[in-house]
């Protein structure tokens, strides 16, 4: 499971479980379009304090490979900007989407 998760397609009633039982995860639902402002991490300023990671309600901030620095998954980030607000060193700035 993860970002590659595929949508579940039912063709008929026969494909359904007896009750409304989940068969997949919400990884299928990319929420990038919710975002107006895109938070961008300035890695020169970032002090690896992990506060943005800690407070992300999605979570759309993860520890990237291989250096384990925080990174934003723009497929899922809804643009709430808690990370921008909470960053103690102003290492996250924003850009308007679609520009």
């Amino acid at each position: 499971m993860g970002k590659e998760e595929k949508k579940i397609i039912f063709k008929s009633v026969n494909d359904l479980p007896p009750m409304a039982m989940s068969l997949g995860t919400m990884w299928v639902n990319k929420t990038a379009s919710w975002r107006n402002l895109r938070p961008i991490i300035d890695y020169d300023k970032c002090i690896d304090c992990m506060i943005c990671w800690k407070y992300c309600p999605e979570p759309a901030i993860y520890l990237r490979d291989p250096d384990e620095r925080v990174a934003i998954d723009y497929d899922y980030c809804k643009g709430c900007l808690i990370c921008v607000e909470e960053c103690p060193v102003d290492a996250i700035y924003t850009e308007e989407e679609g520009k």
């Binding site: 009633v13 359904l16 007896p18 009750m19 409304a20 039982m21 989940s22």
Partner: protein, 384 residues
């Protein structure tokens, strides 16, 4: 196997014991209390290895057995009247979640005014909750029906209500055969359900479902009821092989050549059986159709048996105010598509525990003999 004189309430308790229920959650209400008192003792002395959650309301009782059943435990509760009404919301939920909970309900009239006596309006008001409903006519059937209910419920993933009359069964001692545990175990395997709350295979149950698939899930519930129609009779025959007693969807009596057939449920049907015998002795061609299973409604059986009669009487110890007898409405519905179907005479009687005597029932046949056109509602015994 041993034979004991027990009240109907205790027949429910023994049914739960022999079904090896694992979680019980219940709240006391007259006339159900003896069911849970005996089960409490059984749990306390280790006769029954079950968790008994002594909840603070019937609403919580039904929610707790729902949670238990969803977790893979065989769950049981019992209630009556106001308690059943309080459960109403959760009854729908248990069906939608497809949980094979079994519950005893002692039929008792609704208040106000306060009444503790029998009437079927409480359980029949739960008609559309999707619960299977079995109406027992004696204490042996009460006990046996609990075991049968689990057997069928767990195959079709639908809950079942085993229903009995207040006092006439709940508090009346009758000789009852208590089946051997090994034989019950042979008939009823342990509860296994792959659709359960399991951290090793996590699923969410009952999440928001869009109009795109909601209807299909309801269709499945209905299909499960249709499947249960077959299964109830099949398991009834299996049960008969082991225990020598058969229980089906309906219980016809002397109907083969009957001109007039009376439809009834529960203990009123036992009384009616005796009335039929007396009338037969007088040369009247009368018969009885006891409806044992009200949901799923046995349309085909009812049609088969009633369409050959010249007149049909329905005895309803219940009332849907503004409409009439609830079972009569089902019977009329069943006959509607039968060509030249017999007229239906719908009697309301015995509400709030008023006696229904043999004499009363013989009068119904006598009254109907003089009538040609069916009647939507006839009040029997109201002091007008």
């Amino acid at each position: 196997m041993k034979r004991m004189a027990i009240v109907g309430n205790h027949a429910l308790s023994y049914g739960a014991l022999l079904s090896r229920v694992q979680v019980i959650a219940a709240y006391p209400i007259t006339p159900q209390t003896q069911v849970v008192e005996l089960l409490s003792e059984m749990c306390a002395d280790g006769t029954l290895k079950a968790e008994f959650v002594k909840v603070e309301s019937e609403h919580s009782a039904m929610a707790a057995v729902m949670g238990a059943s969803a977790s893979g435990a065989r769950a049981f509760t019992a209630t009556s009247s106001q308690g059943l009404a309080l459960m109403h919301e959760v009854l729908h939920w248990v069906t939608g979640a497809r949980l094979p909970v079994v519950m005893g309900n002692i039929n008792r009239a609704f208040g106000p005014p306060w009444s503790i006596w029998t009437e079927q309006t409480d359980s029949l008001s739960q008609r559309d909750t999707g619960w299977m409903q079995i109406y027992a006519q004696d204490n042996q059937e009460v006990l046996d029906s609990v075991i049968l209910a689990y057997k069928v419920s767990e195959q079709v993933l639908l809950p079942t209500m085993v229903v009995l009359d207040a006092f006439f069964l709940s508090h009346t001692s009758e000789p009852v055969e208590i089946p051997d545990q090994e034989m019950v175990d042979e008939f009823l395997p342990p509860y296994e359900n792959k659709y359960i709350l399991n951290p090793d295979d996590p699923h969410a149950f009952g999440g928001l479902t869009n109009p795109e698939w909601y209807m299909e899930l309801r269709y499945k519930i209905h299909k499960a009821h249709e499947e249960a129609l077959q299964l109830i009779e099949k398991e009834g025959r299996e049960f008969e092989k082991l225990f020598g007693r058969y229980y089906g969807l309906v219980d016809p009596y002397r109907v083969d050549d009957a001109d007039t057939i009376l439809v009834a449920v529960s203990t009123a049907a036992s009384t009616a059986r005796y009335a039929v015998d007396l009338l037969r002795e007088r040369g009247k061609k009368v018969g009885l159709l006891r409806i044992r299973v009200f949901r799923p409604f046995p349309y085909e059986r009812v049609k088969e048996i009633l369409s050959g009669a010249k007149k049909v009487i329905v005895l309803d110890r219940n009332l849907s105010p503004g409409a009439g007898g609830i079972i009569a409405s089902e019977v009329r519905g069943a006959l509607a598509n039968v060509k030249n179907h017999p007229p239906v005479f719908s009697y309301i009687m015995g509400l709030g525990g008023r006696d229904i005597t043999t004499k009363n029932i013989m009068e119904l046949f006598e009254e109907v003999e003089k009538m040609e056109e069916g009647k939507d509602i006839i009040w029997k015994g109201v002091k007008i």
